[in-house]
């Protein structure tokens, strides 16, 4: 790696303990805020009594739903539940106290009477005719706007033309984000009465909306300042909005700063989860392997509340058939409500689940046709000029086959596959190798405008401040943005300070989701750099008495290309520009072109560009204990041009680990709707000891729509991993159609 590629804007602060996370803040006079949760699966609130709790010394304020100054809900999520609770995390009262002890003592003294209501405990139950209705506006328990159909060709004819038709069902589980930093906020008022929220938030502008809803304040009187965020992966969204809203009303009600930090248990109980899916696929193919028809029903569990399924399911319908050319398609995706913790965004946004199902299906189909997994895929891979199932002609390079062949080569797949086929099936330890290929639409696509902004300011001393509307939650976005600026201006990254989002300082640029941070978020940065560069070159040209076109910028200097000895330092040029009255602070906005989408048929132009990935997994299974281990992962990603090799590598390794977790160990446990795995002793995520040998390569490509040629990467790194592991397990003799592939499931299979 080059020097620049290991540099990070925040690394020094993070290795010295200086980096300040929300829970590290202490505001003089602050109160500690706590939430009292229902602990019920589904119940009517008969009575709530805070009389005894209020008597605890140090308790300053207790609030019930009736005490909320404005709205009790944000989107469909209650800050405080009224009348009825729909899952155990529902809050019914808020406490502010002088100390943690007093606040906890108050919670212990609160009294509530509930009347249990019949619960809905799975997506299958939600779909039953006689299922209890959870939201009156949705009597069929389907999440609002979550149905996304795809209709292409003629499905009946497609199956008629098929020589072989295969039907399969697959399922996935609730997966916890498990960011190591639990949610935290500190709220105080500014001298003008407005609110300042310092928080651990992935989407500060959404947090701002939540606070405005809870307090009744206009958006311009709510300022959300993002702190260092200790991981998010899509998770610090709904729960942080609720947390910030609750802390804000406590702050206003007491006139004191309020700090609220979730325990791990609260974080697991309240924060959103990766949606569990039930997939019912029916695929038809010619004897030679050509795919003719695909019919699929994808149902995901939205849980008690929802504002993500409708967006996630749109992405799901686009990717439901994988990276293959299929002429006849009928797909329906929809979500249902249950009395479980709600589903939300988690790295991959439905794709890791879908790819698991759909790439398992491809392997099962190959086996049924007597074809090799690679042969079936090569016959059907999308290629440049092909039409996707959602009716989009792919004009950019389509590298599904290229990444696959390269990954298989790196993994020594053919040789190993043969070796595993020859292994003695009666030995205790058996192994297998398998792979999965996928594509991922870059950015938001037709889901929502991919617009975003940035501010770039060069100071008179030549130092630079970069502010993006999108957030760094650990992935290194501020670094990637600084890297783009450094590269374009020919300056050292050390000159650049890249700041977290402060909603009072940058234009609202949408959510930092859909792996759009560099892909889209880099665009206003580059636009701003271009404008600044023009000004600096103009000023330098005057000083060097030449034309701007003769100048270049590198090594922290502006110089004449023909005669590099004629130069000015970057700082000299910045100073000259400032003192001659030029603005060196530029706000830029990226406005994407419109994308076409027809909802009834699911046809249109889904995404401008796609990232292509292939993951090869090798597994080993102990037949006696059922324990599966991933021994090696190889991945190849066509993510266009990589901006920062260090950060990009970190994404790949991190995605692999998260994928291994989803494949083999992670699934929330419930007992009558209540989560029983609320901490890391019972919800296991991979440790250093669980990490396989990891090999990867980027396959560079051009001709895409990303900033500096960068396509989406963060989510692409995780999404094919569970599928590859599942196919490797199948090669070892264990075709599992439900994730995670726990040792119990393997053992059960082993013993029939």
């Amino acid at each position: 790696m080059s020097v620049h590629d290991s540099w990070r804007v925040d690394a020094r602060e993070k290795v010295t303990g200086q980096a300040r996370f929300a829970a590290d803040l202490h505001i003089p006079g602050q109160l500690i805020g706590k939430v009292w949760r229902s602990g019920q699966t589904h119940a009517r609130i008969v009575s709530l009594d805070a009389t005894e709790a209020k008597k605890i010394p140090g308790v300053v304020k207790i609030m019930l739903a009736g005490d909320m100054p404005a709205h009790t809900t944000w989107s469909t999520y209650p800050f405080l539940a009224q009348g009825r609770v729909l899952y155990q995390g529902d809050a019914v009262a808020l406490v502010a106290a002088e100390s943690e002890e007093a606040a906890l003592a108050a919670l212990a003294q609160m009294e509530a009477v509930y009347e249990a209501l019949p619960p809905v405990l799975s997506l299958d139950e939600a779909l039953e005719e006689s299922a209890p209705i959870l939201h009156n506006s949705y009597p069929d328990n389907r999440v609002a706007n979550s149905h996304w159909p795809v209709r292409k060709g003629n499905i009946r004819e497609g199956f008629e033309q098929s020589d072989l038709v295969l039907e399969r069902e697959y399922r996935t589980s609730h997966v916890e984000h498990a960011y190591i930093e639990p949610e935290a906020v500190v709220v105080m008022t500014d001298w003008d009465g407005s609110l300042i929220i310092y928080g651990s938030t992935q989407n500060p502008f959404n947090t701002r909306r939540a606070v405005a809803a809870a307090t009744g304040y206009p958006l311009n009187k709510v300022r959300v300042v993002q702190q260092a965020v200790g991981g998010s992966f899509g998770g610090k969204e709904e729960s942080v909005g609720l947390l910030a809203g609750r802390a804000s009303v406590l702050c206003l009600a007491t006139g004191r700063p309020v700090k609220m930090t979730y325990s791990r248990e609260e974080s697991v109980i309240e924060s959103s989860k990766r949606h569990p899916f039930r997939f019912r696929y029916k695929v038809g193919a010619k004897r030679d392997g050509r795919l003719m028809a695909l019919q699929a029903e994808l149902v995901d569990e939205g849980g008690a509340y929802n504002f993500q399924a409708q967006f996630m399911n749109w992405r799901a319908c686009v990717h439901a058939a994988g990276v293959y050319h299929i002429p006849n398609v009928e797909i329906d995706v929809y979500a249902v409500h249950t009395n479980h913790v709600f589903g939300g965004a988690m790295r991959g946004y439905s794709s890791p689940q879908i790819i698991f199902a759909q790439e398992s299906l491809m392997d099962e189909l190959a086996a049924a046709l007597g074809l090799e997994p690679l042969a079936l895929r090569r016959l059907n891979f999308l290629r440049e000029g092909d039409e996707t199932i959602t009716g989009q002609i792919l004009h950019e390079p389509v590298n599904a086959e290229k990444v696959t062949l390269r990954a298989l080569d790196l993994a020594d797949y053919e040789r190993k596959k043969e070796a595993y086929r020859r292994q003695d099936p009666d030995t205790r330890q058996v192994g297998g190798i398998g792979f999965a290929t996928c594509f991922r639409g870059c950015g938001l696509g037709a889901e929502a405008p991919d617009a975003t902004g940035a501010i770039l300011s060069v100071q008179e001393d030549g130092s630079i401040v970069v502010r993006s509307s999108l957030t760094d939650m650990g992935q290194g976005l501020q670094t990637a943005h600084a890297q783009l600026v450094a590269r374009e201006l020919g300056v050292s990254p050390a000159r650049i300070v890249s700041k977290p989002v402060d909603t009072s300082l940058v234009p609202e640029g949408g959510m930092t989701v859909a792996s759009r941070g560099t892909y889209s978020g880099g665009k206003p940065i580059l636009q701003a750099v271009a404008r600044i560069k023009q000004i600096l070159l103009h000023v330098a040209a005057q000083k060097l008495e030449c034309s701007a076109g003769e100048l270049a910028m590198a090594n922290d200097c502006v110089f004449r290309r023909e005669d590099p000895s004629q130069k000015l330092s970057f700082a000299e040029v910045a100073s000259a520009a400032f003192w001659s009255g030029h603005s060196l602070s530029v706000t830029e906005w990226f406005q994407p072109g419109p994308l076409r989408w027809e909802r009834e048929t699911g046809q249109g132009e889904a995404f401008p560009s796609y990232t292509y990935s292939c993951v090869v997994a090798e597994v080993s299974v102990d037949r006696l204990t059922g324990k599966a281990t991933v021994t090696k992962l190889v991945s190849v990603h066509d993510a266009g041009r990589v901006v920062h090799a260090g950060a990009a590598s970190g994404q790949v390794y991190g995605g692999m680990a998260m994928g291994v977790g989803m494949a083999l160990m992670e699934g929330l446990n419930f007992e009558r709707g209540l989560v029983t795995s609320t901490n890391f002793d019972r919800y296991l995520i991979p440790t250093a000891a669980d990490i396989p040998e990891a090999v990867f390569e980027f396959l560079p490509s051009d001709g895409n729509s990303g900033a500096a040629g960068a396509k989406s990467l963060g989510e692409a790194t995780v999404e094919a991993v569970p599928a590859a592991v599942a196919n490797a397990l199948a090669a070892a003799g264990y075709r599992l159609r439900t994730l995670p592939a726990l040792s119990e499931s393997l053992l059960k299979r082993e013993r029939g």
């Binding site: 290795v15 303990g17 200086q18 984000h177 190591i180 650990g474 901490n679």
Partner: protein, 158 residues
């Protein structure tokens, strides 16, 4: 609640303080001494974000009752660097891009520090074992293991 006197050496500095009996070492570090580098991620000794070195051993400071450490020598992430001069482990974390969100980083560094004190030339498996009590959700650990290995080499071990 009764307060009791706690004497500690923290990052080379002698501390003498009256504290509540029920405080954990992590609370004393974060709330009493303002050393917020050590983090709380789970409160039950599973995630390792609160790892500090107590009398030469890496411990989860969320599981140590502060008074039980009375007279002890504590090293936290804030004590790793000498002024602007980073510890070779810190340097190596920077060079290997061994962090992302940074929340687990202080604990991870302290576990690695304790390992290198005991075993200046650890193998990859020993490194993995030493940090297996420190959960990281961002990095997949690969670059962290590399960083620890490289730090050992720089220190003249491995």
């Amino acid at each position: 609640m009764a307060k009791k006197r706690l004497c500690l050496t923290v990052n080379g500095r002698a501390i003498e303080q009256e504290i509540e009996e029920n405080l954990r070492l992590l609370d004393v570090l974060r709330d009493e001494l303002g050393l917020t580098g050590s983090k709380e991620g789970c409160g039950i000794g599973e995630c390792g974000a609160c790892t500090v070195i107590l009398d030469g051993k890496a411990v989860n400071s969320c599981l140590v009752l502060a008074l039980s450490a009375d007279g002890g020598v504590v090293e936290t992430v804030e004590g790793l660097a000498a002024g602007d001069h980073l510890d070779p482990l810190q340097e190596s974390f920077l060079d290997n891009h061994a962090l992302q969100c940074g929340f687990c980083t202080p604990g991870m560094l302290m576990s690695a520090k304790a390992l290198l004190k005991e075993n200046p030339a650890p193998g990859v498996e020993e490194i993995k074992e030493a940090i297996s009590g420190n959960l990281c959700r961002c990095t997949g650990y690969v670059q962290i293991v590399e960083a620890v290995k490289e730090a050992a080499q720089r220190l003249g071990g491995g």
